[in-house]
Each structure stands twice: as C-alpha cells, then as structure tokens.
Amino acid sequence: MATEIEKGQDIPKIVQTLVQNHGDEKAELIPILQEINREMGYISDEAIKELSERMNLPSSHIYSVATFYRMLSTEPRGRHVIQFCESAPCHVAGGRLVWQRMLRELGLEKGETSQDNKWTLLTTSCLGLCGVGPVMIIDNDIYGNVTPEQVPGILSNYE
C-alpha cells in the first residue's frame, strides 16, 4: 500500500503479467486491481487504459469499480498510509480524543496527503479489531488500545 511509485516502471508490462496469471475473465477484475494497487500504490489512468484493452472491458467500468472499493485508490498516496477506525466501538472506547490528537499532530484533515508526501490520513470503517479499540493501522502495522498520549511516539516510528 505504501510502496513508492518508481519512475519509469513499466505499467503495460505489469498489467500484461497480471492478466496472464489471472486470466481475462471479468470475475478476475477485482483481484487484478488489488494487485496493481499493492504493486504501484494506486491505480493510475494508464493502468486502467491498459487493463481495458487486455480484458476487453470498457475503461468506464474499470474506473467505476476502482473508485467503489475502499482498499483501491485512483489517487497517489503518501509513503505511509494511516487508517483510523471511526466506527462506534472505537469511538466509544475513546477514539474521538485520539483522532483529535492525530489531526493536531499531523496538521492534516481527513483524506489528505501531507505536502512532503510522507503521510496520507484516512478514516476507515470497522477493521474487526474492536476488542482492542481504539484501533489504527499504519501501512501494515496494527495499533490497538491507542491513547492520545501515544500518538506522537507511534508517528515517530516512521521515516
């Protein structure tokens, strides 16, 4: 998710390999998009165009699918993606105060990416880790029972 996009990465080649591995049936569209998202950090217009030709699907359909699902992004994201759970169990367990601290520490609003491209701050619906709420995920690291005081320390773990 937080992989940086390398310049000059050969998008047509990546897409071609994925379509070869998965097959070009429509049912494989979402698994392929997930892999593109993982490999490249987001799903670029170029990838959508390439995929449209290889899978024989309208690019409008691919775009509509790519924008529907929360785990897929059509926008570039920062080096580190923070997903903060905003569902009721985490909220009741004290998530509101942690979120306020997070906004203050990062100086970002919900959904924004920082100017230095370091952070993208997202909220998410329940992550199924409610036993240890409030919960947030940074890249692939899960943090539970987070208190407002812990926020600066957690953020300092990331370069």
């Binding site: 569209l29 529907f68 785990m71 905003e86 009721a88 169990p89």
Partner: protein, 548 residues
C-alpha cells in the same frame, strides 16, 4: 473467558433505596470480599423488581433464590451460609410466585447458570488451524462422511430444518428452508457461497472462526453443496482479513490433498471445490446480492429482489449464501442430530450465539452462549460488570444495523423471537455496552456517518437519506437543532425503512428511531436547552451544515 459462579442482584427501585438498599449493597460487597469470593461472584444493582412490599430484595442466581426484605444485619448470614457454604437461608427466602417480569424470568430458569457453551467456537484456540489432521482427530469431516455415505440430500435438509437453525448473519432466516429453496430451484449448475465479508462495526466473530477453525467452514460448505446439488463454492472474505485469507487458502489446499475437496469425495459421485474471493473494502458487500455482484467483477451494488439468489444468484444460477457462523453450526448438527441442537437455547431460537462484547465494561471479547441469555447476564457474568462501577445506559447490538437497547430491556431474553417482540434487533452479535458518559446524539451521529460513507449510492432514499440524517444530527450536536429536526429524523427513519432497496438503507434509520423512542428527553435537551447532558457534543452554536 473467565466466568463467575454466582450472580447477586440488589433491588434499587425508589422504595428499596428508601429502605437502605445501598447499605445492603455495600455490606454485601464487604462480606463477599471478607470471604474472598469477589472473583467468583458478580454483584450488581437491579432496577424495578415490582415487589415493593418486600424490598429491598436480594437475588442469588443461578439458584434463583430471592431474599426479602433484607437489612444490613441479614447480609453476613446470607453471604456465609448461601454464597460461601451453599445453603439457602430459608427464613429470609420469599416465594417468586407473585413476581412479574424479569424476576419471573430469572426464576423460571432456575439452575441454568449460563455457562459458555461452545459449538461454533469448539475448536477455536484449541487446535492448530493449519493442520488438517488436528481437525480430523476432533471429529472433523465426520459429518461430511455421514452425509455422503448414509443420507440423501433431502434427508440432510430435513435434519437442518428440524434443528431450527436460523441464519446468524443478522436476519435469522431458517437455514433449512433456504437449503430447500436452492435444492428445489431449477438449473444444472448451482453455487454455494460462504459470506465472510464481516464488516458490521463491532463484530469479529467470523474472523476468529476463519482463523481458528477454517476446516469447519470447508466441511459445512461441502455438506451444503451436497444437499443443494452444487459443485462449486466461493468463500468471500473481507480484504482486510489477511490472516483469515491465508489460513483459508492453506486449509483448502490441505483438503484437496486429502481428497476432501475435488472429484469423487469419500469415493462417492459427489464432487465439490472451493475458491476464495478477497473483498476490496466495502461494507455493502456483506449484503448477499452485492456480494454476488462483487464476485462477478462489478461494483458491489445490491440487486432488486426478487429474484432471490436461491433462484438466480451468481451468474444467474441458483446460489446458496450462508454466513460463517451459520455454517460453523452445520457439522455439529449432523454429528449430534437435530434433537441435540434443539435442546440448547430457547424453543423459538435453538442453539448458541457468538457475541462480541465491547465498550465500557471490564472484560471485552468474544463469548458463545445459548440463545435466550439476557444482557444483564452478559454484563454481570462475562463482562465482569461496568467499567469503574459506572451505570449501564444502553447497548448497541449487531453492529450499525442493530438496535439501541435501553437499560429497561436488559432482562429481555436475547433470541430472535423475544427481541422482535420488543421491537429491537439482535443483529450480527456485537454488543457495544455504553455507560452514562455516552451521548445518544453523538452515538447516532457516528452510526449515521458510517451509513453515509458505506451507502453504495445506487438508490436515492439511502444515499440522500443517510446524508440528510447525518447533517441534521450534526446540527443538533452543535446546538443549532430545532424541534422540527426531531420530526424530520423520525420521518427520515420511516422513509429509509420503507423506500430503500436493500438492508443497509432499511436499517440505517433504526438508530434515529431508537434514540427518539428511548432517549427523547436527552435529544430534546440538545434542542430546547442547548445542553448535551453527557457533555460530549461540541454545542458550539455554529451551524455546520445548511439544510434547505
């Protein structure tokens, strides 16, 4: 989870308080500590018992013995004789005969101290989920063998029907009936889907089953496939559940190696294989027709129903869609029989239910208990009471599409039937327990924000209704709400229910309905007095959203 041996309740209605119930309570507390029983006995206050002449009352559970009227002088004897030595103090005991409501209910279940009863979670945490042999040693795949060798598909369906198993995804539809529909549907190709897109806020029971006992799902899907004559299955797992996905993949691989999936299983004519589809992050895909759209490579937008998936599901073929927890019951029902299953739980809702207990309680986590247990029991026994001795205000069941249950319903048995009669819903099994620090307007705001975000946008009532309701709640929480807003919220709740295409929109308004029905005074305080009684809402006086 650790459980307590006994539960002691002290009545706290006005008469009881007037006659010293609080002193009785604190003396009980001291005496229980004196005998070192504080770990074993849960002590809490109970509100209206409606036997005021005998108050204050002390109830000892599971024996269902009622003492009254109890003074502080009686307490040492009750604790020493009954709680410590186990002998009922007969001279203080009163009959439960003319008691009504919750006490009658408690008494009628004498001796049934609800211990955890694990069917769904039987193996979870006890076996190595990545080793098929451990599952097989624990009676695994025995049910599938029995079905394939000794039973016809219609006999299999009959067993599930007789067991009374109801879908555990939230709606409570009879599972056997669903199997029968798919079995009877015309078509030469049928599918079985396991709905593991668990996204209800506060629910993570399915994740633990998938992570802890994946072969139970494979076995159950195979039994279902045999019963409805399907040869292909999908497990739709939500994309965030990495560990569950990898464990399931491994389990399917092992089952294929043992020829428990594939061609001619157990040497019979029956062939069946399972694919995994990982979700990509959309709550709505837990709705079965949206889930099917998603497998087909589309946006997860629910289809109009009918036709139901049982006749036209995946690629328009008859499809059986069952939730993880529902499926996890199947192998045990086949092994032990329908009568065994019916002996657990309540007559109208047999079996167990897995709950995730969350919120302002001392112990959070997962429990599996017989249907028909009460919220009070869950809080006192399994959650070890409210955090910091705070008061129970409400519980939110079943994730966001559940109900807000006020304290007055905490003695209603938790089963599909009783909850329906009380006008609330059991939902998917999350129990978010809230104390008085939680503001109902704030809670409803969080819930509606969730629906607003997760609405797929296909139908207008849901897309616009959730947004409008959220904006209205924000304004109320900012102290600029009006009485008209309350009427609007009620109307939006009704319209969401009546006009939305799928379950998401239909239930999105239930928090609105619930807070207006049970906590109207608190909501009105925000509007009339511009005060948030719980001190949570910002009440800035600034209008955040303009409503035309």
């Amino acid at each position: 989870m650790k459980t307590t041996r006994s539960m002691v309740l002290v009545s706290s209605d006005p008469e009881s308080l007037d006659r010293g119930a609080l002193d009785v309570f604190s003396t009980l507390q001291k005496q229980i500590t004196k005998f070192g029983l504080e770990e074993e006995i849960a002590l809490s206050m109970i509100t209206d018992i409606s036997k005021h002449a005998m108050s204050p009352l002390v109830l000892v559970y599971p024996d269902a013995v009622i003492y009254g009227p109890v003074t502080t002088d009686d307490v040492p004897m009750i604790v020493e004789e009954h709680l410590y030595k186990g002998r009922v103090v007969e001279e203080k005991q009163i009959s439960a005969y003319d008691l009504s409501g919750r006490v009658a209910w408690l008494s009628s279940r004498k001796g049934t101290m609800p211990a955890e009863n694990r069917i769904v979670l039987k193996n979870v945490g006890l076996i190595d989920p990545e080793n098929i042999d451990e599952y097989i040693i624990n009676d695994g795949y025995e049910g599938l063998g029995t079905v394939l060798k000794e039973m016809t598909p219609s006999e299999t369906i009959q067993v599930i029907k007789n067991s009374g198993l109801q879908g555990r995804g939230g709606a409570g539809f009879p599972t056997g009936l669903k199997w029968q529909f798919v079995n009877g549907a015309k078509g030469n190709k049928k599918y079985v889907i396991c709905n593991a897109d668990e996204s209800e806020p506060g629910t993570f029971k399915d994740r633990l089953v998938l992570e802890g006992d994946p072969h139970a799902i494979i076995e159950a899907m195979s039994i279902g496939a045999y019963a409805v004559d399907a040869d292909e299955g999908y497990v739709y797992i939500r994309g965030e559940y990495d560990l569950a996905i990898s464990r399931m993949k491994k389990a399917i691989q092992q089952a294929r190696e043992y020829n428990l999936l594939g061609e001619n299983i157990f040497g019979t004519d029956f062939s069946f294989d399972i694919h995994i589809h990982a979700g990509a992050g959309a709550y709505i895909c837990g709705e079965e027709t949206a889930l099917i759209e998603s497998i087909e490579g589309n946006r997860g937008e629910p289809r109009p129903r009918p036709p139901y998936p049982t006749t036209a599901g995946l690629w328009q073929k008859p499809t059986l869609v069952n939730n993880v927890e529902t499926l996890a019951n199947i192998p045990a029902i086949i092994r032990n029989g329908a009568e065994w299953y019916k002996s657990i739980g309540t007559p109208s809702s047999p079996g167990t239910k897995v709950y995730t207990v969350l919120g302002n309680v001392n112990v959070t986590g997962l429990i599996e208990v017989p249907m028909g247990i009460t919220l009070r029991e869950v809080i006192s026994i399994y959650a070890k009471g409210m955090k910091g001795g705070t008061n129970f205000k409400l519980a939110q069941t079943g994730g966001s599409s559940g109900s807000i249950i006020p304290a007055s319903l905490q003695d209603t048995p938790m089963d599909f039937d009783s909850y329906n009669k009380a006008g609330v819903s059991l939902g998917s099994g999350a129990l978010l327990i809230c104390n008085e620090d939680v503001c109902v307007v704030d809670l409803a705001k969080v819930l509606l924000n969730f629906f607003r975000f997760e609405s797929c946008g296909k139908c207008n009532p849901c897309r616009i209704g959730t947004k409008r309701a959220y904006d209205t709640l924000v304004n109320i929480s900012e102290g600029v709400g009006t009485l008209q807003d309350l009427k609007d919220l009620q109307m939006m709740s009704d319209q969401l229910y009546e006009l939305s295409n799928c379950g998401l929109g239909q239930t999105a308004g239930s928090p609105l309905k619930d807070i207006l029905a049970h906590f109207r005074a608190e909501v009105e305080a925000h509007v009339k007095l511009k005060v948030c009684p719980a001190g949570v809402c910002p009440m800035s006086g600034q209008r955040e959203y303009k409503i035309f």
